[in-house]
Amino acid sequence: MSHSSEIQPKDIAKPVDKLGEVYSLMVLSAPYDKEGMEPDLKEPKDSWKTKFCASLDGFIALDTLVRPSTSEEEDEFVQKFINGLAKLFADSNNNFLQPLQLTMDYCAKCNTCSEACHVFEATNRHELYRPIFRSEVFRKIYKKYFTPGGKLLGKFVGADIDINWESIARLGELAYRCNLCRRCAQTCPLGLDNGTLTHEIRKIFSQEMGIAPTALHTKGTELQLKTGSSTGMNKLAFLDTIEFLEEEIEEKTGRKIKIPIDKKGADFLLTHNAGEYLAWPENPAAFAILFEEAGLNWTLSSSMIGYDNVNYGIWYDDTMARKVALQQFEAAKELGIQRIVIGECGHAHKAGIVSSDRMTYGEDKVRVESCLPLLWELVETKRLTFNPEKNNFPVTLHDPCNIVRHMGIVQPQRNILKAICPQFREMTPHGVDNYCCGGGSGFAVMQSLNFPDFRNKISTRMKFQQILNAFDEELVTNTDIVKYVCAPCSNCKGAIRDMLEYYQATDRFNIHYGGLVELMVNALTTLEQPYLTFTDE
């Protein structure tokens, strides 16, 4: 199809190779407004097109959605989807029924939500990525099969859609073109939530059809439930890692710290995204340095899933989310601890504190909180003292959607940065109005086939633009000075890492990224050496 604005939701079944081509992208700020500053998009390989569903926009997120070889298999696939759709509106989906039904019932097609979406804007308003495009496809199918109006009046009420393998598969892919950031929902005059609707579509694919990206399911929640961590790290590997961390701390700071593990009687259990231990060990190390210096009575856990706070289930599958969350509560209870503090991971915040809040009750439940207020308390009460001059370089803050828009934790992280980073500046917009990093809802860990292209080029584009703008003055005029994007979230860091690499922004313009605690340790008055060295990214 030529111009994307001609595409309509009912075209989802159209027998074309690609429903919509991404042919133009939002122009980035200087110096990225010139040709040759970023790689071009690539065509998917022919072998991928015949094996998977590349017929939406050429990208493939669902590496487990394989084209059927017989028409029976096609029919079975469609039937399974319809069965799953029915279950979404039955007692099997009690925990989402009300929000789902409301969003299904009331959309006024006013398009107020469109401009809120960074994916839509990054593609110069490509129709496929309009928040209600996906919702309308879904709504039309729902009406056609499940509402009296749709069955009786068909086209009149909008139930004008053909349903076949291609249309359902494309809808499945579409459910992975949205970061579930819910920025669109913030603007809807009727309070509807296209992000949650996307989440529900993902659930049909996973919970009924057994289809989810490998990175989220097989190598995510399943691996976590089997080994203790979605990284595959088992208890022994975890204990080794902690030893390594202690050595690193000693080497970097000269401090001999014994990181507490499984300490009964600790005031709280600190949990990290286990990916930190592998990709950014300086982050859990920084927590240990701060907590030890402040004299807190804390511990890590080495029991099953107690050392990995991720919960990919919240992006695609309620049952997996529940299994992981309950196991995490269990890890604290084993130690007799009633308080979990979540480290710098956005979706772990949301999963551990909000999403799992109503999964259980009474004795089974443990109180969970964010590390950010605690860190701010250490600064505010001067339990730790800082020399902000040590952080005298431009710093900007990325607001992880899960922590900020979805949880209302806005100020503590800003208060800290204002206290320890003299050149702190906000992105525009920020706080609860922030844009997603583009890695949300699993995109940061989905590395198969050509999906990283979609992430780097499209879903992270708005965030990259915001970063460029935040460093506006210094960006080109002073490539010698370090510029730091503070992202207190593992997934966001993953997305930002890949983005900076893709656009070569570290090499070209000295833009670096990292967490919040690293900046705190770097500014500790008691530390002689800088903690941040900016050498090996």
């Binding site: 604005s5 309509q8 799953g84 039955a90 099997s92 009690n94 925990n95 989402f96 009300q98 929000p99 039904q101 409301l102 019932d105 009331y106 959309c107 006024a108 097609k109 006013c110 398009n111 107020t112 809120a116 309308e136 009046l153 086209k155 009149f156 009420v157 909008g158 819910r182 929902a185 603007t187 005059p189 009727l190 309070g191 939530d193 996973s206 009924e208 057994g210 399911h217 049952t319 504190i353 999403s355 809040d357 109503r358 009750y361 009474g362 439940k365 109180r367 909180e369 950010l372 207020p373 605690l374 900020v404 828009r405 949880m407 209302g408 934790i409 806005v410 503590p412 706080g431 609860v432």
Partner: protein, 278 residues
């Protein structure tokens, strides 16, 4: 007499079915938390979108809730359609004109009712002001919304025939009303008809009034059946979803609801292989 009965039934249907819709949403099971900040009831924090999670050991801190803030936000939304104003001003003008017109017509109806018992000059003024404002604003808004929907490529693409029908139906009611009621003495006729209705007299009406009343009654029956009953839904989307951030603490109402829900486990099961493993 048939017309009287039809009118009464349609209004009754409007009320009963709207209430039924509300009851249906209200009786849905407790759901996972899906709040979105800013949540206006977060006293002292709503202005920047903060929540009680900004406190260390939040569960030990007194919960600061401002119902005043919540009501203020709700009123701003009801009276001014604030979200649309902030996020889509071009559409706000017609939409606001339409909605405020309907509010005036609601007031007009109340004034007409009062007027039957209290036929003072003051109420006549009120009837005239609310009626004229209501019909004019609602009609202008309605026509502008229709034009917008037809001429805006992006909106047109997503609009179903039913959604045009909804707007045309209300427009027909409004225009037929204007035609029927704007006789020599403004709004003399509706006052007369209300009087006849309340005293259960058979209505004596000319064809223009008859058409208007038939359309009006049909609209009363149709609205709660269509998504135009968003006056019901909007309460739930905000109060029960986006602004609902009650934590599940021991002894809380949420905990009680969860216990009740646990007593009725779902009968329907999902089918993917991993769903039925432990």
């Amino acid at each position: 007499m048939l017309l009287t009965i039809y009118l009464f039934i349609s209004v009754l249907f409007f009320i009963v079915f709207s209430a039924y819709k509300a009851w249906k949403y209200a009786s849905m099971p407790i759901h996972s938390r899906l709040e979105l900040y800013p949540v206006p009831k977060e006293a002292g924090r709503a202005s920047y979108g903060g929540s009680y999670y900004e406190e260390v050991e939040w569960w030990n801190k007194p919960r600061q809730v401002s119902h005043g803030n919540e009501i203020k936000d709700m009123l701003q939304e009801m009276l001014f359609i604030k979200k649309l104003f902030e996020n889509h001003q071009r559409l706000w003008w017609p939409s606001y004109s339409f909605h405020i017109g309907i509010y005036f017509l609601f007031l007009w109806t109340i004034c007409l009712l009062i007027g039957t018992a209290w036929p003072e000059q003051a109420i006549t003024y009120l009837i005239n002001i609310t009626g004229v404002a209501g019909f004019v604003l609602a009609s202008i808004g309605n026509i502008a919304l229709l034009i917008r929907r037809i001429t805006d490529h992006d909106m047109r693409k997503y609009t179903t025939p039913q959604e045009y029908f909804n707007l045309f139906l209300i427009l027909a009611v409004l225009l037929s009303g204007i035609y029927a009621w704007s006789g020599n003495v403004l709004f003399f006729l509706p006052r007369e008809i209300i009087h006849q209705l309340l005293t259960f007299q058979a209505l004596q009406v000319d064809p223009a009034v008859l058409i208007h009343l038939i359309l009006l009654s049909f609209m009363f029956i149709y609205i709660p059946l269509s998504k135009m009953n968003h006056y019901v839904g909007k309460f739930f989307t905000f109060h029960k979803v986006l602004w609902e951030n009650e934590p599940n603490l021991p002894g809380s109402k949420v905990e009680k609801e969860l216990m009740e829900a646990a007593a009725h486990p779902p009968a329907t099961k999902w089918s993917a292989p991993h769903m039925n493993q432990d």
